[in-house]
Amino acid sequence: MISAGRGAPSPLPRFSRRAALGTMAGGALASVLAGCGSGGGGTRVSLHQSKPEAIPYFGDLLEQFNDEHRGSIHAVHDISANLSSGFARGNPPDLGCLNYNFEMLRFQERGALSDLSDLEAEANIAPEVRELVEHFPTYPGRTSVIPYSMMAAAVLYNEEIFAEHDLEIPTTYSGFIELCETLQEAGVDPVYSTYADAWTVSQGLIDYSVGGSIDVPAFMDELRDLGPEAGPDAPVSFSDTLREPLEKMLRIASFSQPGAAARNYGDGNVAFARGEAAMYLQGPWALTEIDRIDPGLPIGIFPLPMTEDPDDAGVRVHLDLALWIPEAASRPDEARELLRFLIRPEIADPYNQANLGFGVREDAPDVTDARLQDLQSYVDRAAFYQGISQALPGTIPFENYCQAIVTGQSLEAVLRTLDEDWARLARR
């Protein structure tokens, strides 16, 4: 009857459970293998890191760390998918390196993570990245997490198709709509959408259109301040604030290829790689998948413009990896040593370059991937936001609601449900 929650935090914010199933299987195998490789002496310290694509990379880093600390500290790689049960049993990992999402927040909010303020100075985190952490409920007086890698997502576009139709990157909402109309008249599907995987809807269409229109953290603060007074008719509500951005979103969604409701993430990567549509609202994680089909495809990235002022445009970011040490860690000192190792620029920078992430230090070098360089200037001047889908607790099935909106349910009704869910949660 009791089964613990999923853990596999993945490259994507709130990745699907399907991915978690796969990760668990792979994780089980890899832990066995990892166990075989250990042999060095010293105090055992565990690093919990389960982003699937980065597991081999971190395996190598740990080897390097163990070589440097031979005889004193021995770090082991914990990649099991389940984190909650570790905390529940009072046996959490010594150091965590995970996606900063709602799963992490509850540990942070209740003070289960130790204070790292002294190490924060060493990490030299850029203030606007630091702020991303503070957009969520934190534990007063503590630095609970240290950002490690930031991912930026926007609109991927096929440069060949744009060149063929002599199109320029749109900088206003009306310009974007015009561009879509031009493509449609030319017989090209402007946008490839994959509604069958609900997270792709919330990550792309919904987060980009809301993040490009409103100040998400300010809105969430206002909602939280309402407490149990929240609801569809409260002075601040989803119904009121999100309605206009989402109506605009539906206009954009209408330029999707026919049959989008039955296409999933895998279909989207294949179709975009084959040039079946001009644009694809996905993050850098999709680039890796597209590369497997057509490594030479010229892809550019631009932020979705949602207003008529080009300066309003921003990119959707999330902290793909953040470091933390639980209060209940059995080896906090060794964990801090390992953390210090990981945040060294010569360790952190190559990681981010190799994994399509942006560095989080004030002096982090520019991203080297040619496609992501399009977004560097936005990251540099902090023209970014965290998706609204990241700001809602998973107990509200927001992704499903997003899917409902784009597959034909009444926007008004869904927003009302969202308000009622939020209010019910606030009253509990």
């Binding site: 009791i2 009072g90 039955a262 999933n264 107990t395 499903n400 597959t407 034909g408 009622e420 509990r428």
Partner: protein, 309 residues
């Protein structure tokens, strides 16, 4: 081990005029207890204890770890007024009912065919039982592809309008795909039970009915069905209980969508673990447990002494 100890008693013990068989008949052999103990311990530690803890936490505001406070029946009160919860129960019950009917009608029909004197009976039985050995999540992913690519493509090629759109993308029809796939996977088990059941019906009653000139339909209605009613009952109740806990097929086919159209109770419970809505979903689990328990009790009562057909 117990018997060894008993037999290892001092030799003079055997000189008393006490025949060992009588002694055994009065007391249950300790060997039985020894067989029971490991299972009992496993069951208590792995199932009963966690379940009891879960019920305990359903009266708190715990998020799965750390400090918590008692909130009495609050979780339950909110639960019964939560439209999201009511809708997952509505979907799950409706889905389980439809599936149980479909599974049993098809399985009984097939069982009748496969116990008749037909050619390649054994081969056909194997073919029909195959879905049982494939894991649910794999079946779901395969059918997900069939429903979203193969069938719409076929619909387009043949010009069959209603098939051109994927059924999975239609909030009003997606549940049908889940019923079909679940039934496809669950049918073999019911089929095997029905075949076993049909084999218990003595041939002479059919012969007698044949002499009386009973039609095939009358033989089915008045002889076969009453004689295998115990098996029907088992299939219906076990099936219904299993379908209430549907999870991986829905996960693979629709992931609860489109929107929230096909979210099941188990999916709601699981979502609660993911994001620290632990105590609330524990209350949900408790309610769900009581529903399943009630069904199990009904089953026990109805099938007492009837399983023989």
């Amino acid at each position: 081990m117990a018997t060894t100890v008993e037999r290892g008693a001092p030799p003079d013990a055997g000189t008393r005029d006490r025949p060992p068989p009588r002694k055994r008949s009065r007391r249950v052999d300790r060997t039985y207890h020894l067989f029971l103990v490991p299972v009992l311990i496993l069951f208590s530690v792995c199932i009963t204890l966690p379940a009891a803890m879960g019920i305990f936490y359903s009266f708190t505001d715990s998020i799965g770890f750390g400090e918590y406070e008692f909130v009495g029946l609050n979780n339950y009160l909110v639960l019964f007024s939560d439209p999201a919860i009511l809708s997952v129960y509505g979907f799950t019950l409706g889905f389980a009912l439809c599936t149980v009917v479909l599974v049993n009608v098809v399985a009984l029909g097939l069982a009748l065919g496969l116990t008749g004197r037909i050619r390649a009976r054994v081969t056909l039985r194997t073919v029909f039982v195959l879905p049982m050995v494939v894991s649910g999540i794999i079946i779901a992913f395969v059918f997900q592809f069939v429903f979203s690519h193969t069938i719409p493509a076929a619909g387009q090629a043949l010009g069959i309008g209603p098939l051109e759109e994927s059924i999975l993308a239609d909030p009003d029809l997606a549940w049908i795909s889940i019923v079909l796939v679940t039934a496809w996977q669950a049918m073999p088990q019911a089929l095997l039970i029905y075949i076993a059941g049909l084999m218990t019906v003595p041939q002479d009653v059919y012969e007698a009915a044949g002499i009386d000139g009973a039609s095939a339909w009358n033989r089915l209605r008045h002889i076969t069905l009453p004689l295998i009613s115990g098996f029907v009952l088992i299939n219906v109740i076990i099936g219904f209980k299993d379908f209430l806990a549907a999870y991986e097929i829905i996960l693979g086919l629709t992931d609860g969508g489109p929107g929230t159209a096909t979210r099941s109770v188990t999916m709601a419970i699981f979502a609660g673990f993911e994001d620290g809505d632990y105590a609330y979903q524990m209350a949900n689990s408790t309610v769900f447990f009581l529903i399943t328990l009630a069904i199990a009790l009904v089953q026990l009562r109805l099938t007492r002494g009837r399983t023989g057909g």
